[in-house]
Each structure stands twice: as C-alpha cells, then as structure tokens.
C-alpha cells in the first residue's frame, strides 16, 4: 500500500497548508486577544504561549493514536477546519454577547493548537513507509516552517486588510477542509470505500458550514458588532492615542476612531467637499494650505484637486492614522494616495503644541482646515478654544481663510454655535454653513476670515459630486431649528463646549 511520488507530494502540500492555517489561527487569536484586552503585548504573548504549549501537548498525545492513522488524520483535519474556521466568528460573537469571552478564546485556541500539534506527527507516520526517516523529518518540517512564513505574510498583508478577521478565520478553515479532501483522495486506497465515503460526507458537512459562514460573515459580524460596528472589521488597532477601526459594510468602508464614525465612503465626499471648497472659494491666495487633524487624507485629497495648491502641511497627532490611510487599500483608494503626493508634508504632533512651538516668523498659510474629531473630551475640546484659534490666527495672514468642522447644528445646536462664538471671540469674522451628510445628519462648518469676507459664491474646482454653486448658496441658510442660540465661548480653563457637547450627544 505504498504511495506514489505524486501522492507523497500531495501530502507534503497538505503539510504546507496545515502549517499555514495553523499559524494564521495563532495570529488571529493574538489579534483578537489584543483587540479585546487592549494590549498587543499581552494579547500576543499569552496567545503564542498557550498555542505553542498546546502544540506540544498535541504532539505528545499523537503517540496514543493507534493505527490505522489515515482515518484519524482526516478526522483531525475536519475538526481543525471546523474549530479554526469558527474561531474568530465565535469569539467575536461571544465578546459581543457574553461575559468572560476571553475564556472561550483561549479554550478554542488550546484545542485547535492541540489538534494542529497532532497533525504533523500523524502526517509523518503516514509517510514513514514511503520515505526514509531522515527524509520524512526533513521534508515535513521544511514544509511546516515554509507554511509558517506563508501564513504570517499572508495574514498581515492580504488576509486581515482585505478580508477582516471573521472571513480570514472562515476562509482558512475552508482551506484546511480542502487539504483534508486532498489527503482523502490520496489515502482512499488505504481507507477503503466505506470509510472514504463516511469521511467524505463529514468533510462536505464541515465545508458546507464554513461556506455558509463565509456568506453570512457580514451578518455574523453585524450580530457581533451589533452594539458598535455594523460591518466586517477590516482593521482594528489600539494605537498610542486611540482605537482605530475600519469596517466594510453596505458596499462601503467606514473609519471609526474610538468607536465614533469619522468617515463613511458612501458619502464622505459630501463632507469633505463641503469642508474644503468653500474655503478655497474665499481664499485670495491658495498656494499654502494647513490641515489640522484629518489624518485620513480626505481633506488633503480635496485640496490637491485645486491646481493652485503648492504645498500642504498636515498636522496629525496619531502616526497610526496616517500610516493606515497610506497603506490600507480601502482607505488609500478613498484618498487617492493623497498623502504620498510630493506637495504634502506630514507632521505628527498635537496641533495645539505644534502651533504654539511654530515660529511666528514662519511663512503664514493661505488656507487652514481644522478637521478634528468632535469635542467629546477635554483633550479634544482644547482644539476648539479661543486660545487655539488665537494660535491658528498667528499662522494666518490678513487674507487667509480658516474653516472648522463644527459638529451638527441640529443635534448639537449649542455646541455648533459655541464653536462659532469662540472663533468670533478672537476677532475673526465667521460664516457658518451646513450640509446634509446622510451618515452624520445635518453637519456644520464655520468659515472664518480676518476680514469681513463675503459669502463665497464661485467654486474654484469644477466637477464636484456634491457641491455646486446652488448648493453652496443654500448651505449658508439656517432654518429656524438650527439657528443661533445664546452660548458662552469655549476657553481652555472653562471648556463650555465639552459640557454642551456631553449634554447634547450624551443625552444628559
């Protein structure tokens, strides 16, 4: 019952697949643990430890597996495919709906690790009649380690960026199942027709479950993220500053910072066209632009449409955001690689600290765009204070234009007018306006100029998807339910805005 060379080759390929998916499961567990524990170091070190230990236990238990090895090897394959494939969705669901979900993660990881630990020794036993012992060890282990490399590279570069964790898990389970079928085909002579049929049926069942999971992945994630994210998680990372999450849902891509939606690819153009083009329309000169916040590169993309722009300085706190905006295909596609444009210079610093340290002799900017997250804490609230706008004013000349994203004048009416009032308090002339961004609702901005500027009328850039001159005109009209309300300005030592905002969005 010896195997042909061709069959030996198939079994070695199976070893490669087994190793690849084994490593991916381990990395998946590490990633999931990091997401939920909030620490990459702890997440990865504990999962790697548990996994390697489980591999050892598996290898050790392999000697208890009596002959015949072939049917047992196939059965192990199915189980790994099922449990490994279900790992991410099961854990994500558990984290969303149950307490102590970390226990499930580590238990699953341990069982999968043990089974993967069984696979290689069993495979070696399958091959031992057809190869010399030295060859078995050398080849199987070589493929095993090669698989690890393939798994690691694929995980980081392809799987998680393109598929997200849930689908990666299911897809690798399916790959395991395919390897199982390959082994089944090669070993069917050893197994005999009855066992082959039985094992084949089991395999089909496992594969069917995994395929169903893949199709339902969006729904699984939706269940899992019912409270937070409505899409498949493409990227989830705890940077030094915040939780950065990119999801894919409803045919689009979403960027969240600390769970707050920042960008929805379906309508972000409305937001960013409205943020950038009115300011360009007012500006006397448009050579030098400053973007504060906005590390996603989308405001920069809009600026770069204007051929008059020579230089853009982007000041973003979090290097992880700009790096993601440049590397993650989904985001890069959205911003058109704007951050790699030679006209763009990226600075990683707190905008306030950067402005303060900036020499007053440095050349002023013609256009300044303040695109910060909403003022939901004191650290962000300071970027909307009179002190901050004074520092911004220092970076402007007498004909520069500033525009500030200013939250929703409908849902957070006092917050919006507080921002407007604060800007006015430092002696700038304001022109508030608003547009409709379906993902956000009615959204407001404030244009501010050192001189009493007219309402902008002529756009500098044609062919925008949302903003045309009629829309622009309408944007400056505030219906009564969004009109000005009496508010205090926001000051560093008295951050009224943070309190207004908490009351309005926090429902307090």
């Amino acid at each position: 019952m010896s195997l042909s060379r061709w069959h030996v080759g198939v079994l070695l390929a199976v070893a490669l697949v087994v190793a690849t998916s084994g490593l991916v499961y381990e990395l998946l567990a590490g990633t999931l643990a990091s997401y939920y524990i909030g620490s990459g170091v702890i997440g990865f070190s504990t999962t790697i430890g548990v996994y390697l230990f489980a591999l050892g236990i598996g290898s050790w238990l392999s000697r208890r597996i009596a002959d015949p090895v072939a049917p047992r090897f196939i059965a192990v394959e199915w189980t790994v495919a099922l449990l490994g494939g279900a790992m991410a969705p099961a854990v994500e669901l558990a984290f969303a709906w149950a307490e102590h979900a970390a226990v499930l993660l580590y238990v699953l990881l341990f069982v999968v690790g043990m089974l993967v630990g069984l696979e290689i020794p069993l495979l070696m036993r399958l091959l031992k009649h057809d190869l010399r012992f030295e060859d078995v060890v050398a080849r199987v282990l070589a493929f095993d380690y090669l698989g690890a490399l393939v798994g690691a590279l694929a995980f980081a570069l392809l799987l998680v960026p393109w598929l997200g964790t849930t689908r990666t898990s299911l897809a690798l389970g399916l790959l395991n199942a395919v390897a199982g079928f390959a082994a089944l085909a090669v070993l069917r002579a050893q197994l005999g027709p009855r066992a082959t049929r039985r094992l084949g049926a089991q395999g089909l069942l496992v594969a069917a479950v995994l395929v169903a999971g893949l199709f339902g992945a969006a729904r699984i994630t939706r269940w899992a993220e019912a409270g937070t994210y409505a899409g498949v998680i493409l990227w989830n990372e705890r940077s030094a500053y915040q939780q950065i999450t990119v999801t894919a849902a409803e045919g689009g891509v979403q960027l969240f910072l600390n769970g707050q939606l920042q960008v929805h690819s379906g309508d972000e153009y409305r937001y960013h066209e409205a943020l950038v083009h009115p300011a360009l329309a007012l500006a006397h000169r448009r050579a030098r632009a400053l973007v504060l916040g906005g590390g996603d590169g989308l405001a920069v993309r809009e600026l770069l449409r204007d051929p008059a722009i020579r230089e853009v300085v982007l000041v973003e706190l979090d290097p992880a955001v700009t790096s993601l905006a440049r590397r993650l295909p989904a985001l890069r596609e959205l911003n058109g690689g704007a951050l790699d444009d030679p006209r763009v210079r990226i600075v990683h610093d707190d905008a306030m600290v950067w402005l303060e340290a900036r020499s007053s002799a440095a050349a002023p900017f013609d256009v300044v765009i303040a695109d910060f997250p909403d003022p939901n804490d004191f650290a962000t609230g300071k970027l909307y204070t009179t002190r901050f706008y004074r520092l911004v004013r220092r970076a402007m000349h007498d004909r520069s234009v500033l525009v500030v994203q200013a939250t929703s004048p409908l849902h957070a009416r006092r917050s919006f007018w507080c921002i407007e009032r604060t800007i006015r308090d430092v002696g700038l002339h304001t022109r508030p306006y608003h547009v409709h961004v379906p993902s956000f609702g009615a959204w407001g901005f404030v244009l501010a100029t050192p001189w009493p500027a007219p309402q902008p009328e002529r756009l500098r850039v044609g062919g925008l998807r949302y903003l045309d001159e009629a829309t622009l005109r309408a944007a400056f009209v505030f219906p009564p339910d969004m009109g000005p309300v009496p508010v205090e300005p926001n000051r560093l030592h008295d951050q009224m805005l943070v309190h207004y905002y908490a009351a309005e969005w926090g429902g307090g």
């Binding site: 030094a240 004191f378 650290a379 204070t385 002190r387 004074r390 000051r491 560093l492 951050q495």
Partner: protein, 555 residues
C-alpha cells in the same frame, strides 16, 4: 494646589447620591513602604534617579566652618548687593531696576536662581521643584498686576476691574480631580460622597468666608488680605492666630467630614500642616484673602509647566552676569565708614570675594540670616519653625491608566499622606505620550526637627518607594511607566504658621532694617506665599530707594 472651596463644590451635587461609606481619612504616619518587598523592587529596578536638594552640604559646611576656601579675597563694588535670588531677592531687584538702580548684584548659593520656586529643565517639558502656581492677583494689588502684565500673563482688566488672565496661563480645565474609593472624581471632593449635612455645612462655610471677606476694621482695613502687612489687627482676629484651626472649626459648629477634609487638605497643601497644627487665622487667610468682594468667585489660578519657575525666569532675565550663582554668602557686616560689606565664597572653586556696597538686601530665610548678618548673631532666635517637604519628579514614558475622571492638572488622593501630583504637560496642552509628574508631600510631624532628621536619613530608593507606593494605588501601571524619578529633599521648605507664629512681635521686628542692611523673605510673614515674598522684596527695595534718594537729595 490649594483651592478655597469653590462654588461648584457647594452648589453642585444635584446628582449627589446619599453618603457612601467614607473610607478612613488619611492617616499621617509614614507607613513602611510596600515597595520593600522583592517584587516591587524588581518592578522598579529600571527606574533611574537621584536625590536632589538645596546644597545641604555647603549649608552644613557653613554651619560647621569646614568649607574649603583658598586664595586671596577679591574686592568688588556695587551700589546694592542682594543676598539670595529667590522670589524675594528677585522681586527686590525688579523694583530697584524700575527705580533706576541697575548697579546691583545678586549673590545666590545654588547654581540656579529661584529658591523654593526653582524648576527643572532636563525633561521633555520644564517642571517645578517647588512653588507651582499663583492665584490671579486681586484688583488692589497693582504691583503684582504690573509684573504679570509685563510677563504677558495678564491682559488688561475686565469690566469689574479684575485682572484678565491670559488664557494659556489660567489653569486649563480639568483643573483637579480626586481619587477616592478606587476611582478618580471631578473636583476636589467626590460629589457622590457628600450627604445633605456636608452640603449644608459647605454652604454655611461659604457664607462665613464671604462675611470674613467683607469684614473691615475701624480704619477700613480688610480682616484678611495680601500682603498680610495690610491686614486689620483687631484683638479677635489676633486671638484666632493663637488658636488651632480645628478648634476654631469646632467652636463654629463645623463638623462635616468632607469640609474638614477639604480644609485639612488646604492647610497641608499651603502650609505643610494639619488643621490641628495650623493657626486658625492662617487657615482663614487662605480662604478669604484672595476674594475681592463677598459673593465673588475665588480668582483663577495662574500656572506654567515649570510652575513659578516661569516667574523666576522672567525676573532673572535682565541680570545676566550680575546674577552670580554658586556663591555662598558667609558674612554681611556694616562698615564703620557707612555702607555694608558682604563676603561670599564661590562654592565650586573656593574663591573668596568681598562686595562693598551702599546697601545690602538680605533675602535668605531668617535662620540663615541670623548666622550671616553679623549684628544678628548674638540676638535672640527669632526664626519661625520650618517644615520639611519631599518633592519628587517622575519622568514617564506614557500616561498612567486610572479609572474614572480623566487626568487633570492637579491630581489629589483622599487616602494618602502626600498631596498627589501636578502634571507639567497639562498646561502645554500635550495630552499624550511622555510627561513629568511632580509629587508633593509635607512631613507632618509635630516636631519639624524630627522630620528633618528623618528626611536626611532616607535613601533614594526608600523615597522612591514612598512615592510609588502611594501613587500606585491610583495608577497600577505606574512602576512600569516611570523612567526616572528624582527626589528633592527640602529640609527647610517653608515657615510654618503654627498658632502664634504669624502675629508675633519678633516677626514684625525682624523685617525692620539694621542701618544699611534690609531684609526680605516670605518667612518674615510666618508663612510661605509667593505674594508675601514678592511684597517683602518690594518693601525692602523701597527702603533702599528711599535711602538712596534721601542721600542724593542731601548731596
């Protein structure tokens, strides 16, 4: 770090839950550090640091006469010599310069000016080693308003005549938070802890303070104001100075635990004393003196990353070479032919120098003045008691985690012997990544000499553990984040306004000039406040200016 009870504390609390059990109030013993166990020591092994402090060695050498001194004495001349470049000495120099006297020198023992308001400049942000804030000056304090306007810290006045503090100097919100029962809470008292009685008493206290703000004597002088030289001196008020603050509160029916906690925190923070060790008058001064009129809020606090070191920088800037640091003044002696001669030694080289001047302004603590000013040497010991403090600067690679309200400028722990810490990057607006935290702890012993002896015996690692054990309760990840921890041992940190110290005839007498020798230092007031040091400096400078003018008129 002190906060007269704000209106917010009194009026807030709509959410106030009924009193949750109050943990044991801070005890005052120095407990054996938890860090003495092995695990903590290992966790802290990577932390670097050293003991810093005023030149204790040269101080002792001066006392014991063992300082190295070689070579010939060089002779120099200046119109005025200022001994000590703390706030008092620098303020005197500031006033003299405005009065047209530029021919002066400042002789300072330490390598940098500032005294107890000095700062460190070797971190990612400058940070304080002592004084770290000043309340905005009252509208009556024209001189202080002028100084801060010069610094750009005050930008004109508002409609009611109050100084308008520049936004970047006004303590940024959130100003303070307090750690209690495992969580950080907004403000200085956890709202959730207050019951109806606490609230009622705080309201009554507030009204009481307002009445003290309004109180005037027959000549229209306020009962409590700064500088204290302008305070009324009615018998009832003076009697309060002889009384313990806790007794005063009892006599006036204040029993609320949280009100007492707040006031005890206040006296520890300001004076390094418990309520039971503080003069009632001094406690009331702190609460009432800075409020302009009844019903008005307490003035905002002014601060900089390096604390009052920013004021020191401004005051020291004009003097260049005339500010001679590293000079230990050993003798200040009237000259028979008139004027003064001041002898100093350059600590690093042992070089001796003599300065002949028309006037000397001695701006060192009284216990030092008594040793170096020859005519004082045989007089009675008229120095106030001095408290000892531990100040530590913790250089962190990242922000510590903590449950509850987010990081503030001033971070106070209820159940701790220390006062908590201030954050140097807060005022800069740098809210992420590396920072420097300054930890403060007065030694609360009844006998300040015992505290000084204890402090002198402590090793760096013992003090490191003291600090980390205390703060670690609120920040479990602190050990891991600290990269450097330096400790400053202030043996004579500040004069202590214990009962009877402030309104003491010897204190008043000590401020009077001896011929051409003038005196300025906060301890001439019996308590340590920036405003007192500043006004003593101005007063002494005015004495000099008057004398110089008198002479030039005469000649």
């Amino acid at each position: 770090m002190i906060h007269p009870i704000g209106r917010r504390a009194v009026l807030g609390g709509l959410l106030g839950a009924p009193l949750v059990a109050i943990g044991a109030m801070a005890g005052c013993e120095r407990v054996a550090p938890r860090g003495s166990d092995r695990a903590a020591r290992r966790r802290r092994a990577h932390i670097e640091g050293a003991i810093r402090g005023p030149s204790i060695a040269s101080g002792h050498a001066l006392r014991d006469g063992t300082l190295r001194q070689d070579g010939v004495e060089t002779t120099h001349r200046a119109r005025v010599v200022i001994v000590g470049a703390g706030i008092a000495g620098l303020s005197a120099a500031w006033r003299l310069r405005h009065g047209g006297v530029e021919d002066l020198v400042l002789l300072e023992l330490e390598p940098m000016p500032g005294g107890t308001a000095c700062a460190g400049y070797d971190g990612i942000v400058p940070y304080p080693w002592g004084a770290h804030y000043v309340p905005a000056p009252s509208r009556h304090d024209a001189e202080l308003t002028e100084l801060f306007s010069e610094m750009g810290a005050i930008e004109g006045r508002d409609d009611e005549g109050r100084a308008r503090v520049a936004e970047h100097v006004c303590v940024r919100e959130p100003a303070e938070r307090v750690f209690w029962n495992g969580f950080w809470h907004e403000g200085l008292v956890p709202e959730a802890a207050l019951d109806a009685r606490d609230r009622e008493e705080m309201k009554r206290w507030r009204a009481h303070v307002d009445a003290l703000v309004a109180r005037r004597d027959g000549c229209g002088r306020r009962a409590f104001t700064l500088p204290i030289a302008r305070c009324a001196s009615e018998p009832e008020l003076l009697a309060w100075d002889a009384m313990r603050a806790d007794r005063w509160l009892e006599a006036h029916g204040y029993r609320s635990r949280w009100l007492r906690w707040l006031l005890d925190y206040a006296t520890r923070d300001d004076y390094g004393l418990r309520l039971s060790q503080t003069s009632a008058w001094a406690m009331l001064l702190y609460e009432a003196a800075r409020i302009d009129a009844p019903g008005q809020p307490a003035p905002p606090y002014m601060t900089w990353p390096q604390g009052n070191g920013a004021i020191v920088e401004h005051l020291a800037a004009p003097w260049g070479e005339r500010l001679r640091t590293g000079r230990l003044v050993q003798q200040v002696q009237p000259r028979p032919q008139g004027g003064v001669s001041v002898r100093a030694v350059h600590v690093a080289s042992g070089q001796r120098e003599r300065w002949d001047a028309e006037h000397a302004v001695v701006c060192v603590p009284r216990f030092v003045a008594r040793r170096i000013v020859v005519p004082l040497r045989d007089g009675p010991d008229d120095a106030p008691p001095y408290g000892a403090w531990v100040v530590a600067n913790l250089h962190l690679r990242d922000r510590p985690r903590g449950r509850g309200f987010p990081a503030a400028w001033d971070n106070v722990l209820v159940d701790a012997d220390g006062l908590g810490y201030v954050c140097a990057t807060h005022q800069r607006g740098r809210d992420h990544g590396p920072t420097v935290l300054t930890y403060y702890r007065p030694l609360l012993d009844d006998d300040p000499r015992a505290a000084r002896r204890w402090l002198e015996r402590q090793s760096w690692s013992a003090l490191r553990d003291l600090v980390l054990d205390e703060l670690g309760v609120a920040h479990p990840d602190l050990d891991d984040l600290v990269e450097r921890l330096d400790v400053w041992r202030w043996g004579h940190a500040m004069p202590q306004p214990r009962p009877g110290v402030v309104w003491n005839a010897a204190r008043r007498a000590a401020a009077r000039p001896l011929g051409a020798i003038h005196f300025a230092h906060t301890d001439l007031s019996g308590l340590a406040l920036f405003e007192e040091a500043f006004h003593h400096g101005l007063r002494a400078a005015d004495e000099v200016l008057d004398a110089l003018r008198g002479r030039s008129v005469a000649s």
